[in-house]
Structure formats: C-alpha cells, structure tokens
Symmetry: C2
C-alpha cells in the first residue's frame, strides 16, 4: 500500500523493492540512497549497549549497500532519544556511530536530534555509482549458482539463548555473542564480488536467509533449490544442546549480515577468486517459479517465506 | 558533543552547523543531504491528523533546502509506527507524504517501516547543486539588510490557543489553524531569492524567528538590530484577546517555515524583485558581535536566544 501511494518517478532507477534506492543524476551515474531505522523497543536484544545499538544501525545500512556493490560516501543520522538516557548513553551512541562509519570509510556529515519516548536511530547513507555496476535483486537466471559469504545461525542462536532460555549475554559462546551484539557488514567482500562482474543478483541476509532467498526467487520469477545450508559451528552446538534444528536456526534467523548472491555457473570460479575463497555454494536457480526448496535426505522440502520476527518483551 | 564525536571529513563541504549537509561529488558539484525527524510524543499539536503530521514532516525538511536555494531531487522516509495505528492511519501518512512530495516536485524513492512505541517520521532529502550556489548561514556583512519572507506569530498563537487555553483546533481562526496544522515551505521563493545572487546568508525560521536570527548572527560573528517585527494579523488579534505580547509571539514562536535572509543593501531591490515583493526588511546587520537586539520605543532591548520548546502533554 505504501508503495502504491508513494508512486514512482522517471528519475527513479531503483525504487521500493530492492535493498537501496537509486536516482539518475547524470548519464549513466546514479545517487544511491538507503535509510534504515533501529527502534529501541523492537530491535534491541536484552543487554545490548547503546554503543552496540548505534553500531548495529550503521552495519545494517552498510550491509544493504554492500549487497549492491556500492561503497557508502556519506551518512546522516536522525536520533530520537528518550529523556531517561544519560549523557554517557548519548556519548556511547555517538561513539558507536562514528566508530562504525570510520570502519566502513565514510563520514557522518549531518543529522537531527529529537526527544522521543522510544529510542530511534535512523541512518541514511548516500553514495554515487555507475548505474551498470549496481547488482540488484533481479537478474538471476536458470542454472545460476546460489552462494553465500558466510555461515548462518549464530545470531538467531544467540537471540534464542537470551530471549527464550534466559541465558546471560555475557556468558554466551564468543561467536554467538559477536554475531548478535557486534555484527559486521561484508562491505569489502561485496565490493570485490560486484566489481568482478560475476554476480547476476544479490541481497543481504539481514531478514534471514530463507527470506532473502525468497526475495531473489520472486524478483527474478524463478525457483531456488538448496542442497547445503552452512550452519556456524557455534549455532550447531547450541542447537544440539537445546535440541533444536540447526538448519532451521540458519534459515529462519535474521540480523545476520552476510551476502546471498547468484552467479552464472561459468563465472563461479571468478566470483570465488574475487571473494578470496569466502563464498559458499548452497544451491542453484531453477527454471520453474516454485519458491525456495531444500533437499533434506532423499526428499525435497519447501522453505517457508519466514524470517526475522521482531521480539517484544 | 555529538559533533565532536562524529568528526569531519575533507569531502564534507557543509556539515553540522547549517540547515543541510553537503559533500563534494565532482568539481564544483555537491550532493545536498537533509534529515529531519518528527516524533509523535513531542512534535504533534493536539488534534493534528496523521496526514497533516506526515505533510509537516516533509515541509520541515523542504524548508531547510529552500533556505539554501536548493530544490529537492528525491526523498526517503523511515517510519516508526505504533501498533495501535489503523490501516487507515497508515494510508493517511502515506497520502500526506506523497501529497507533500508532489507539491514540492520530488519523488519519494525508498524507505523503511518499523514498529515503534512512539510515532516517528524521519524524512531524508537528497539534491544536487553547484557548490557556489548554496546560500549558507554564514556570510552576512556589516550593514546588510535583514529580511523575511512573511509574517510571524500565527503558529505560536495557534499552539498557545490549543495548549495553554484549551481552544478547539477546529474553531481557531483559519490563518492560525493553517499556520500550525498545514504549513507550507517557501521553496519557490527560496529558489528565486538564491538564484538572484542577492543573498549573503539565509536560514529558515522553523525554530523561531529569534533563534534563527541568533544563528545568523553567530555564524557570521556580527550583531543584528531589528526595528520591525512583522506580526500576522491573526496573531495580533489573538495576542490582544489574551493580553499577550504580539511581538513575543512572533519572535519566540517556531514551526513557521519562512525564510530569514541577509542582503547587501545595494542588492535589496534585486532581492525584492526576485521575491516578487514577498520580502520584508526587519533590521540590519551591525559590526559589533553583541547578539540580536530590537528597537522598541526609544530603547534597544536584547532579543533572547530562545525559540520553540517542544511541548509534552
């Protein structure tokens, strides 16, 4: 509904329906714009510090640019700050923002600060790119390899651990803690993969691997068949300790900032080299538009279009 | 503190400390970026509809670009929506956003929607401009004329009426109602004034006339002496009815989206013509940095650096 109401414009190159938006600013050149809002009451896991929250807000936005192969050029931040925050809290937010911006190589050049009853960190990123270099959600072809830049499940395992099982964040396995509280965006990997020219489509996995795969499938009107879901070691351990399905943790998690890409099979080696090995084949694109499926044992099963659910406490 | 933490960068042309931010994207050309957040619990006067709130969020951002002489090229919207909002509310927000964007001639090309306990409408605007054409807060010279694009006091009179005196919004004088609930940004006027080349500095009046004058004064390190504060007819009537100072309403109000500019006196006629008459001289710039002062009767009085206070209910 929102999209229909807001309409489209001829200057829009990429609008709603992809990870970023882009408008043409000169022949062949586009401005890439991205906004992402982090909300205290729904987006913060128990025990997350203000600095981590601010950092994660930046990471989430950078990850979307990374998936398109675009380096952020400048950022803005709009803050809604509850009155109860201390000056030290606000300083931590500023440090989280500036540390993350520095890590990904762009300046934060402006913003707006407000009082709000719910903590809100709204990030806007700006970049300039060649239109032809953008890697979009649409573009996968029948037979393309589906690949990812890392293992999955750690963030959702960590979230389950602290929310469902009441484990102390500080006592989580280090990899689980880092995945949920100090995630990183795959910016350099995204830039290298995009500039290799080997990708046919790309998305980040922030809404969950299953959700991202469904987006790629729907954007191109093709199916995806998975034969391998890389689950992190720490998520496997957590799953077996809690008698959960490790593959489900990996598929239906979220807040993991890996890249999910498709690559024509003849280009896979090129992509693998560009990624310096950090690319894992997980399945392939199929000609029939029948959603996302997975081979488990001798059976093919449907992968639900489900992902990250905001948690309310 | 925030500014120091976030640092600066060589690519930043205009950073914190002006109405907009700008980064150089090619020789002489800059990307202009602006973010502005509207928060339900602190920014909405009683009785404001969702559509009006969304429209006002856009107007507030456009007004800042108008003051710099920049036409918005594209916008993004990040929304934090309380669970209690109905689908009709959300549709009204979308209509308010799209109506305002259309009125000021730019498309909304992307966004992010979240659940939040406090209504949040975060607008981001993007534009491209020639660096030399930007009219900044800094630039006023001793002897320049200080001028505004309209009358003041209506929005603060309206707010006082509904908040302090419990008047029904629907029964306000039409001009008061419009000023507070359906304000407009002076985009065309700002563009014409800027392209006339007659302005030495400029700001919008959204934080109040007094506040804006202090910003211009501080940015240039000079004083401002007022001899005339144009108060709207409706604000005068309200002030006399409630035994308030009309000039104080006009000076210390806010949420009025006029432009406050300085013009070298030899250029004033040129600026007046560019504005088709919609420009009123209110004072002049003085060589001594002694803040903002006003001539009242036979005395010079200090104009406080005070402005819009968010109201909490």
């Amino acid at each position: 509904m929102m999209v229909r109401e807001l309409g489209v414009s001829r200057r829009t190159v990429v609008g709603f329906g992809d990870d970023i938006s882009a408008v043409k600013i000169s022949p062949g050149r586009v401005a890439v714009l991205k906004t992402d809002m982090l909300v205290g009451s729904t987006d913060l896991p128990p025990g997350m510090t203000m600095r981590q929250a601010a950092r994660k807000a930046v990471v989430a936005s950078v990850s979307d640019l990374a998936a398109k192969g675009v380096r952020p050029f400048a950022g803005l931040v709009a803050l809604g700050l509850p009155r109860k925050l201390t000056k030290a809290d606000v300083r931590q937010i500023a440090r989280g923002l500036s540390g993350a911006a520095k890590a990904y190589g762009f300046p934060i050049i402006g913003g707006d600060t407000n009082e709000s009853s719910d903590l809100t960190i709204s990030i806007m990123l700006f970049a300039v790119a060649d239109e032809k270099d953008l890697v979009l959600r649409i573009g996968a072809k029948d037979g393309d390899v589906v690949a990812v830049t890392g293992d999955f499940g750690s963030a959702s395992a960590a979230l389950r651990a602290v929310v469902d099982y009441g484990e102390q964040p500080g006592r989580l396995h280090r990899d689980l803690y880092k995945a949920l509280y100090s995630p990183r965006a795959q910016l350099e990997l995204g830039l290298r993969l995009a500039s290799s020219g080997a990708l046919s489509s790309s998305i980040d996995s922030s809404d969950g691997l299953a959700w991202s795969l469904h987006q790629l499938s729907e954007s191109s009107g093709l199916g995806i068949l998975l034969d391998n879901v890389p689950v992190s070691r720490a998520a496997c351990d957590f799953a077996s300790r809690r008698r959960l399905s490790a593959v489900d943790l990996a598929l239906y998690g979220g807040e993991e900032y890996e890249l999910v890409v498709t690559v024509p099979s003849r280009m896979f080696l090129k992509a693998l080299r560009a990624a310096k090995g950090s690319l894992k084949r997980i399945g392939h694109v199929t000609g029939r538009f029948d959603g996302v499926r997975i081979v488990r044992g001798l059976r093919e099963m449907r992968v639900r279009k489900a992902g990250w659910e905001h948690f309310t406490r």
